[in-house]
C-alpha cells in the first residue's frame, strides 16, 4: 500500500541530500573535532561550516552564538534551567504560556519543585498569548520569559517580537522554543529580538538527535552538560559530527526559497482545511486561521475519539497524529486544546495532519477521500452521536 505521511510536526524524513552530505562523516572523516591531528582538523572544519549554515538560517550575527545540542528538548532544558541556575540569586520567577511543549512545561514544573515560581499565561481560543498579559505578569523577581514561537499541536504563531520588546524594557532574559518554526517559516533572531532560541533538526529534514540552542552574545546562562571544553565550554561531549553536518545541510536547504516552499505548503494546507470543512460537519478548526504554521491542520471532530481516528487512518495508509506525538497514546486530553477553552470531550476528538515539502496535491485528495468515511464509520458506532 502506498502510504501517506502527514505527521511532519512529530518528525520529518531526512532529506536524501542531507544524508549524502553526512555519509563521509561516519566512516571516512571520523576524527574527534577536539583532536589535534588532521583527522580532528577535518572534523573541526565540517563542524565550523555547519555552524555557519545554522547561524545563517536564523540570521544570527555570529556563528559562535550557536551551540549544538541533542535536540529541541535539550535546548529547552538548557535554556530554562541554565538561566534559572545562573540568575537564581536575582530572582526566581519565570513566565511561560500554558500551551508550551512538555519540554518547556515539565522543565518549569521541575523548577517549581526547586523553589521557583512559574506563571503559566492563558491563551485565547485561537491559542494566542496576549502580550499585555506578559506585561502584567512581570514582577521584580522575574528572570525569564519563555514563550514558544509556534505551537506544535495547533500551529498558532505567537507575537514574539512584541513580547520580547516587553522583556527588553524590563531587562528580562527571553527564550523562545522555535522548534516547530525553524525551517518552516523565516526566523530571524534579531527581528524576534530574543536572547535564546531552541531549534531541532528533525523537524526540517535533518536526522533526529541533533538540534541547537541560539545564545545571544552576553546572555548569562549556566552550562547544562558538564565535562570537556567542547562548544567553547558551553556543551561538553564529543561532537555528533555527522549529525551536525546534517543539521547544517538541512538548514542550508531550508533557507533556499523558503518563502516559495512556505507558499506551496500553505496552499496545500488550505485546500485540506477547506476540503475537510466542506465534507465533514460538526467539526472545529483548532488554532488561528492565518497566524498558523504553513503545514499545520488541526481539527476537533465531535462524538469520536482521536486514537480510533488515527487507527482507521493508519489502516488506510495515512499517518497522522492526535495531539502531540509525546502524548498520543496516553489518551490524555491535550493541554493545549484545553487551554484554548475546548471541553475535554471535544479535545479528545482532535486530529492533526501536518505537511512538509514532500506532501503533494494527491496526498491531500486521498485524505479528503478517506477521512469523511472514517468519521462517519466511527460516529455510527458512537453512543453520543445522534443520527437523524
Amino acid at each position: 500500500m502506498e502510504r501517506i505521511y502527514m505527521d511532519n510536526a512529530a518528525t520529518t524524513a531526512t532529506d536524501p541530500t542531507v544524508l549524502e552530505e553526512m555519509k563521509p562523516y561516519f566512516t571516512e572523516v571520523y576524527g574527534n573535532p577536539s583532536s589535534f591531528h588532521s583527522f580532528g582538523r577535518e572534523a573541526r572544519d565540517a563542524v565550523r561550516e555547519a555552524r555557519d549554515k545554522v547561524a545563517d538560517l536564523i540570521s544570527a550575527d555570529d556563528a559562535k552564538e550557536i551551540v549544538f545540542t541533542s535536540g529541541g528538548t535539550e535546548s529547552d532544558n538548557y535554556a530554562i534551567k541554565g538561566v534559572a541556575e545562573e540568575l537564581k540569586d536575582k530572582g526566581k520567577h519565570i513566565i511561560t504560556s500554558s500551551i508550551e511543549h512538555h519540554a518547556v512545561l515539565h522543565t518549569c514544573e521541575y523548577l517549581e519543585d526547586k523553589g521557583f515560581d512559574v506563571t503559566y499565561l492563558p491563551v485565547d481560543e485561537d491559542g494566542l498569548v496576549d502580550p499585555a498579559d506578559v506585561k502584567d505578569a512581570i514582577r521584580e523577581d522575574t528572570i525569564l520569559i519563555t514563550i514558544m514561537l509556534a505551537n506544535n499541536e495547533v500551529g498558532t504563531i505567537q507575537p514574539i517580537s512584541e513580547i520580547s520588546e516587553i522583556a527588553q524594557e524590563n531587562d528580562i532574559t527571553i527564550h523562545t522554543d522555535a522548534v516547530q518554526a525553524v525551517g518552516s517559516i523565516p526566523v530571524d533572531v534579531n527581528e524576534l529580538n530574543v536572547d535564546l532560541l531552541s531549534l531541532s533538526g528533525h523537524k526540517f529534514h535533518s536526522p533526529k538527535g541533533i538540534g541547537a540552542l541560539y545564545i545571544r552574545q552576553g546572555t548569562r546562562i549556566e552550562k547544562y552538560l558538564h565535562g570537556g571544553a567542547q562548544e567553547r565550554g558551553r556543551r561538553a561531549t564529543t561532537e555528533n559530527v555527522a549529525g551536525i553536518v546534517g543539521l547544517g545541510k538541512a538548514a542550508q536547504i531550508a533557507g533556499q526559497n523558503l518563502e516559495e516552499k512556505q507558499a506551496k505548503i500553505t496552499q496545500l494546507r488550505d485546500k485540506l482545511i477547506d476540503g475537510i470543512l466542506e465534507e465533514i460537519d460538526e467539526i472545529k478548526l483548532n488554532g488561528h486561521r492565518t497566524k498558523r504554521l504553513p503545514g499545520n491542520v488541526n481539527f476537533s471532530i465531535r462524538y469520536i475519539e482521536g486514537e480510533s481516528i488515527l487507527m482507521k487512518l493508519d489502516l488506510a495508509g495515512i499517518a497522522a497524529s492526535s495531539g502531540s506525538a509525546c502524548t498520543s497514546g496516553s489518551l490524555e486530553a491535550s493541554h493545549v486544546l484545553l487551554a484554548m477553552g475546548l471541553s475535554a470531550e471535544v479535545a479528545h476528538g482532535s486530529l492533526r495532519l501536518s505537511l512538509s515539502k514532500y506532501n503533494t496535491e494527491e496526498d491531500i485528495d486521498k485524505v479528503l477521500n478517506v477521512l469523511p468515511e472514517v468519521v462517519s464509520d466511527l460516529r455510527a458506532m458512537s453512543p453520543i452521536y445522534n443520527q437523524d
Binding site: E307, S308, M311, G329, E332, A344, M381, S382
Partner: protein, 138 residues
C-alpha cells in the same frame, strides 16, 4: 506504546454486534466523554436467563472498541451468571493481550456489561463520579 495484536486489530476493523437493541432488556453505560471513552451495552435475555442478543456502542480508543466487540462475542449465549463472571483479564486474553497502558480499557466493557445485567435484574448501581475519569489513563 500502542502495539495491538492482530486480534485487536481485527475486532477494531470489523467490530461485531455494533448498534442498539430497540427493546433491550437491559442497558448499561460506563465512562464519560470528557475522559475520552463511553461504552454502552444492550442485552436481550431469554427464558433460560441466557443472553440471546447483545449490542454495543462505543466512543473511545481502539482498545475500547475492540474490547467492546469481543465482549459481545464472549457473552452471547451465556447465562447471566456466567456473563457476570467475565473478567477484564479474560477479555484481554481473548484479544491476544493488550498493551500494558491499555489494560484498563478492558475494564470498561466488562463493567458496561455488568451494568446492563444489573439493569435487567433491577439492581441499582452506583453512579459514576462525573468529575473524575473512572480509570487511569496512560
Amino acid at each position: 506504546m500502542m502495539d495491538y495484536s492482530d486480534k485487536v486489530m481485527d475486532h477494531f476493523e470489523n467490530p461485531r454486534n455494533v448498534g442498539e437493541i430497540e427493546d433491550a432488556d437491559g442497558v448499561g453505560q460506563v465512562g464519560n466523554p470528557s475522559c475520552g471513552d463511553i461504552m454502552k451495552m444492550y442485552i436481550k435475555v431469554d427464558d433460560d436467563n441466557k443472553i440471546s442478543d447483545v449490542k454495543f456502542k462505543t466512543f473511545g480508543c481502539g482498545a475500547a472498541i475492540a474490547t467492546s466487540s469481543i465482549t459481545t462475542e464472549l457473552v452471547k449465549g451465556k447465562t447471566l451468571d456466567e456473563a457476570k463472571e467475565l473478567s477484564n483479564q479474560a477479555v484481554a486474553e481473548a484479544l491476544g493481550g493488550l498493551p500494558d497502558v491499555k489494560m484498563h480499557c478492558s475494564n470498561l466493557a466488562a463493567d458496561a456489561l455488568r451494568k446492563a445485567i444489573n439493569n435487567y435484574l433491577g439492581i441499582e448501581t452506583e453512579e459514576e463520579d462525573d468529575f473524575h475519569c473512572h480509570h487511569q489513563h496512560g
